[in-house]
Amino acid sequence: MFSKKNNTYYVCVFFFSLFVLFLYGPTFTIILLSFQGPDGGLTFPLNGISTYWFEELWRGGSVVDIGSAFKRSIILGIIVMILTVVLSVAAGLAFRKKFWGSNVLFFTTVASLIVPSIVLSLGVALQFRLIDDLTKWIGSSLNISWVNDSFQTSLGMYSSGLGAQLTWTLPFGLLIMFAVFNRFDKSYEEAARDLGATPWKTFKEIVLPLIAPSIIGIALFGFTLSYDELARSSQVMGSGNTLPLELRGLTTTVTTPIIYALGTVTTFVSFTVIAISVGFYLFLKRKKGI
C-alpha cells in the first residue's frame, strides 16, 4: 500500500519537503541577510552584498564582548562534552547489570530531561547561595582571612553552570548508551574473557572499539547541547555570560544585521561540529566493518 506509484506518495513527499523548508528556511534567510552592505537592515530587500557585518562583529563593534563569550562557550562546551562522554559511558557500563539504586537512577535521568529548566536553574542558584552564606559564616566565625577578604561567590561557569548543563546533557548520553547496549553482541566480550583478558583489557580492546561510533554521538550531544544551552544555565552562570545568554540579551537591544552575522557564525560552528561528528562516525563504522 506504500508504493511509490500512487498519488499519496507524492503528496507525502511534498509535505515532507515543506517541513524541511520550514525547519531550515528561516535560518537561511538570516545567513543571507548577514551578508548585506553597511546600509542593510533587519529585513529584506538585501542592501548590497558584503562582509561588512562580519568585520564589524570581529571588531566588536558596539556590541558586548562577543569574543570572550564565544571563547567561554567553546571551552565550557568541550568540558561538558568530555564529562558527558566519560560519565555516561561509565554509567552505561554499570547499567548492563542491575545494581543497587539502578531504578532510581534511571527515573532520575528521565526526570531530569522533563523537569522545567527554570525550576532546575532556580534550585541550583538557591543551593549555591546557601553554600556562599555558609562559607561566609564559617569564614567569619573561624576568622579565615581569605574568605573574609576575597570570597565573593561559589556561583560560576565551572561550578554551578557546568553542573546545570550536565543535568541536561548526561541523560542524552545515558539513553544513547542504553540504545547501544540493547543491540550489543556479548559474545565478543565473552570470548575475550574466556581467553583470559582482564575486565579492563576486555573493555579497552573489545567493547570500546565496538561502541566508539556511538561515543562520537554522545560527544556531539554533549558539545552542541552545552554550546547552545540557555534555560538551565540562565540563572547560574555567575559573572561571565556564555554566547547564548549574550545573544538573548542582544535580541532586545540590537537592531542591525550584526546579530544575524553572529547567528551565522554560531550556526556555522554548530554545523561544522555536526559535520565532523558525522564524518568521524561514518569513518569509525567503516573501519570496524560493523
Binding site: 509535505f15 517541513f19 525547519l23 522533563i114 543535568t167 547552545d228
Partner: protein
C-alpha cells in the same frame, strides 16, 4: 542465579560519578527549592522560617471572582493554551513526518539521512532559530510584503511577530523534533507483515492508520507529548523573545522574581509548576497503561 555469576560490586560503582552529579545538581537543588518556598525574605537576604505567605501570595484574590480572574490563574490559563495548541500542531506534524520516514522511505540509508536532516536543527542555537523569523514575519518582512503586494491586506499585519501566533510558531519550529523521534521509534518497531495482512484483508489506508498504526504508536505519542508539554509549561525564553516580552508565563514569573531576589516566592512558584507538570505526566502515563489493559 548461581552465586558464581552474581553482580560484582565494582561494576555498579561505575555509575557513581554520574549519580553524584544528579545528587548534587538535581536532587539537592529540588529539595532546597521545596524547603526555601516556606522561608521568609527581605530585600537582601532569605530568612529560614516556616511560613505559607509565599503560597498565599500566589493565590491572592484567586478564589473571589469579583474582579475577574486573578493574575496567577490568567497566567496558567495562557500557558495551558500554549501547551494545548503547540501539542496539537507538533503531534500532527511530528506524526506525519515519522509516518513518511518509516513507511514511505524504503532504504535504511535514506531513512537515516532524512531523519538526520530533521535532527540537525536540534543541535543549533534556539535563540538564532527564533530570531530568524524576524525577516519573515516582521513589519517589513517577507510575509507582509507578500500580503501588501497581492493586496490581501492594505496595512502591515502586526500580529505576525511578537504575538501569541509567533510564540506558537516558534514552539512548533523548535520542538516538533521531540514528537518525531519517539513516534518514529515506535513506528519502526511495527511489524510490516501486520500492515500487509490488514491490507490483504481489504482494509483501506485510513483503517490501517486508525486501527493499527496509531494504537501501536501510542507509547511514542505519549512520550513525545510529555516532552512537548513539559517544555512549553516551563518556558520563559521563547515566550519572552517571540512574545516581545509582553506575554506572561509561569516560567517568566519565576524568572522575574529571581531577578528581584524574591527567592522564596520564586521557589513557591517553582514548586507549584513542578507539581502541575508531574500531575500532567502522571495522567498521560496512566493513559497508555489503561490502553494496555484494555
Amino acid at each position: 542465579m548461581p552465586k558464581l555469576f552474581q553482580i560484582k560490586p565494582s561494576v555498579g560503582l561505575l555509575s557513581l560519578p554520574y549519580s553524584l552529579v544528579f545528587i548534587f545538581f538535581f536532587f539537592i537543588p529540588l529539595v532546597l527549592t521545596f524547603v526555601i518556598s516556606f522561608w521568609d525574605y527581605n530585600e537582601y537576604s532569605i530568612i529560614p522560617d516556616f511560613i505559607l505567605e509565599n503560597y498565599r501570595y500566589i493565590f491572592e484574590n484567586c478564589f473571589s471572582f469579583e474582579n475577574g480572574m486573578c493574575v496567577t490563574f490568567k497566567t496558567y490559563l495562557s500557558t495551558f493554551m500554549f501547551c494545548l495548541i503547540t501539542w496539537f500542531f507538533t503531534l500532527i506534524i511530528g506524526f506525519f513526518v515519522a509516518y513518511f520516514l518509516s513507511f514511505y522511505v524504503n532504504s535504511l540509508t535514506w531513512q537515516i539521512a532524512l531523519f538526520l536532516l530533521c535532527t540537525i536543527p536540534f543541535w543549533t542555537s534556539n535563540v538564532i532559530r527564533m530570531i530568524s523569523w524576524i525577516p519573515l514575519l516582521g513589519r517589513n518582512g517577507l510575509v507582509n510584503d507578500f500580503f501588501l503586494s497581492t493586496g490581501l491586506t492594505s496595512t502591515p499585519q502586526e500580529w505576525l511577530l511578537y504575538s501569541g501566533f509567533s510564540v506558537v510558531l516558534a514552539f512548533v519550529h523548535l520542538y516538533t523534533l521531540f514528537m518525531i523521534v519517539p513516534i518514529f521509534n515506535s513506528m519502526m518497531r511495527i511489524d510490516k507483515s501486520i500492515i500487509e495482512a490488514a491490507y490483504d484483508s481489504g482494509a483501506n489506508g485510513f483503517q490501517i492508520l486508525w486501527n493499527i498504526i496509531i494504537p501501536l504508536c501510542k507509547p511514542g505519542i505519549v512520550i513525545g507529548s510529555i516532552f512537548v508539554i513539559t517544555v512549553v509549561m516551563g518556558d520563559f525564553i521563547t515566550i519572552g523573545i517571540m512574545g516581545g516580552q509582553q506575554i506572561p508565563s509561569i516560567g517568566k514569573i519565576i524568572y522575574v522574581e529571581m531577578s528581584y531576589l524574591q527567592l522564596p516566592a520564586a521557589a513557591a512558584n517553582a514548586v507549584i509548576l513542578l507539581l502541575l507538570t508531574l500531575l500532567i505526566i502522571w495522567i498521560m502515563t496512566k493513559m497508555i497503561d489503561i490502553r494496555k489493559e484494555l
